[in-house]
Amino acid sequence: MRAVDLGGADASPPTPIGELWRDFSRNRGAVAGLVVIALLVFTALFADLIAPYSPSEQYRDATLHAPSLAPVGGHVFLLGTDPVGRDVLSRLIHGTRLSFVIGIVSVGLSLGGGVLLGLVAGFFRGRIVELAIMRTMDVMLALPSLLLAVAVVAILGPGLANAMYAIAIVMLPHFVRLTRGAVMTELAKDYVAASRVAGAGTARLMFDTVLPNCAAPLIVQATLGFSSAILDAAALGFLGLGAQPPTPEWGSMLASALEFIQSAWWVVTLPGLAILVTVLAFNLAGDGLRDALDPKLKR
């Protein structure tokens, strides 16, 4: 019965993190996305040091200056200036910080609330609580997301903070449904019954036993949610309901430069590109993460 030590037993199996990285790094797009995200995080963290000028300082002698290396009045505007003479590059760099704050806050709020509601709905199936939670989420899902966000902002009043709350509310049903689905799958497994037999109470079952096993889809959804939060914030900013001027938020930068779309391409194109690159990077990384975390897609 005793196993013979065959040597070679020292080759320890890869750690979970190592295994995740191995699967993730097979996907080149995902790695590229991760690199871009890392660069963006760096930019966001050190925006004050990287940005050549203050994002709100107006150089009145250089309004709508095209991108060039030539100095204007002693200043170089690498990506040009906007209609009131602010440096587009500095505004974009500071906008990165805002975008990440928006992403983190709205995904954080939505994830926290969604996981809690989803766990409750999954554990108390068939009860009034589940019915109330899930039908409310269904109603929220039935509304177009931007319309819902606009409605929420209309109630709370425009502003960056309120836009983040609105985005968190819009994303909430996705997290709730995802958590509930994962909880239901896990609850059917014997280890949950084993844990109950070992004397675990409901709270322990919810947070210690079941939740860690639902983490994979939630991590993926949170990553993808990050990009949709940035996109929604830009949309709200564009509609004038998000960040208010002079905040250098990418969406509101787009909105304020709309009338110059024909005459000064850089004021519209560059914030748009920034949004595009960020969202694309998060989507690529999110997809890669999903492939790495989903055992069904593993080779």
Binding site: A3, A193, R196, V197, A198, A200
Partner: protein, 331 residues
């Protein structure tokens, strides 16, 4: 039944129902049994006979929409039905433990073996982290896992089915339970591992003097380690008897049919003996004896519902219990 001391586990008139109205399914129908301290009781039956659900009901694991009703459900003289939830949870895992059929899903995939063992130990005994880890190692040794030191930090997906089942067993015996319910503990394992697992269960049961309820559809398993057997059919107990006697002379036609279907008893025949038909479901339950449509000895009186008759050495739910025979050559 005749024990002066209260039995370790007493179950009286236990019923479990699912669904409502016309679609009500009585998964467990008026089941009464007891388990004495240190005794090995086998519960045998086909799929859907209610054996697992009975065990889950005893452990308080039947959830809504299932409904559990019982005249009495007691462990060591303490009523499980009126006990506060906190006390009940302390009893579970402490004095009553259970292991399940599917070893691959019985361990939490997110945590290492050591973490899960130590969690159970912490919940019921406490102690320092170092002491708990030492205890976890000791438990892995007790369940005869090869290379226990290395298995401590393994994740469940790195273990084989047999090893997972041993870890489950280690968790179950972590707090020296007085009753262990094993729900088909060997069904998902290879035949060679099955034999090891049974030997291990028997050894642990004897060493620790714990009572063991072994749920299985394999009479061969029961014959090896059980003291007493309950045979279940369609949610009812149809026969109870002590072990050698049950195999020598079954008193209920269903038990006889189950025994006749064992491959060991069919040597030299071309086809395995089998009982025609299926266990009745929710919508085709006969009015009388539940076995009547499949029973080879069916009589007009079988349109009535038989009670579980006490036949002295055995109990059988049949109006015409089979006669005691001399030991069969294959028995």
């Amino acid at each position: 039944m005749s024990a002066a001391l209260p039995a370790l586990l007493e179950v009286e008139r236990l019923s479990v129902e699912f669904g409502s109205g016309a679609a009500t399914l009585r998964a467990v129908d008026d089941v009464s049994f007891h388990v004495n301290a240190g005794e090995v009781v086998g519960i045998v039956g086909e799929s859907g006979s209610g054996k697992s659900v009975s065990a889950l009901a005893v452990m308080g694991l039947v959830d809504e929409p299932g409904r559990v009703r019982a005249g009495r459900l007691a462990f060591a003289g303490r009523d499980l039905q009126t006990m506060p939830a906190r006390e009940h949870r302390a009893l579970l895992g402490g004095e009553m433990a259970m292991i399940f059929q599917d070893p691959t899903s019985s361990l939490n995939p997110s945590f290492t073996v050591a973490f899960q063992l130590m969690e159970t130990i912490e919940l019921h005994e406490g102690g320092t982290k170092r002491a708990r880890r030492a205890r976890a190692l000791e438990l892995l040794k007790a369940v005869e896992i090869p290379d226990p030191q290395r298995r401590l930090d393994a994740y469940p997906h790195q273990l084989s089915g047999g090893m997972s089942q041993r870890v489950m067993l280690a968790m179950a015996i972590a707090c020296n339970p007085r009753l262990l319910i094993a729900d088909e503990p060997t069904t998902a394992l290879d035949v060679t591992i099955q034999a090891q697992m049974l030997a291990l269960l028997k050894k642990l049961q004897e060493e620790r003097g714990m009572a063991l309820v072994l749920i299985t559809h394999d009479l061969g398993v029961v014959s090896e380690i059980a003291d007493r057997v309950l045979v279940m059919y369609a949610g009812q107990i149809v026969e109870t008897q002590r072990v050698p006697a049950l195999f020598e002379s079954p008193r209920h036609p269903y038990t006889e049919a189950l025994l006749a279907a064992l491959p060991e008893r069919n040597t030299g025949r071309r086809r395995l003996s089998s009982l025609p038909g299926l266990v009745p479901g929710a919508f085709d339950r006969p009015g009388g004896c539940l076995l009547a449509p499949r029973c080879p000895y069916v009589q007009p009186r079988c349109a009535e519902r038989p009670a579980l008759f006490d036949l002295g050495t055995a109990c059988a739910r049949c109006f015409f219990p089979l006669a005691v025979t001399t030991p069969a050559p294959h028995g």
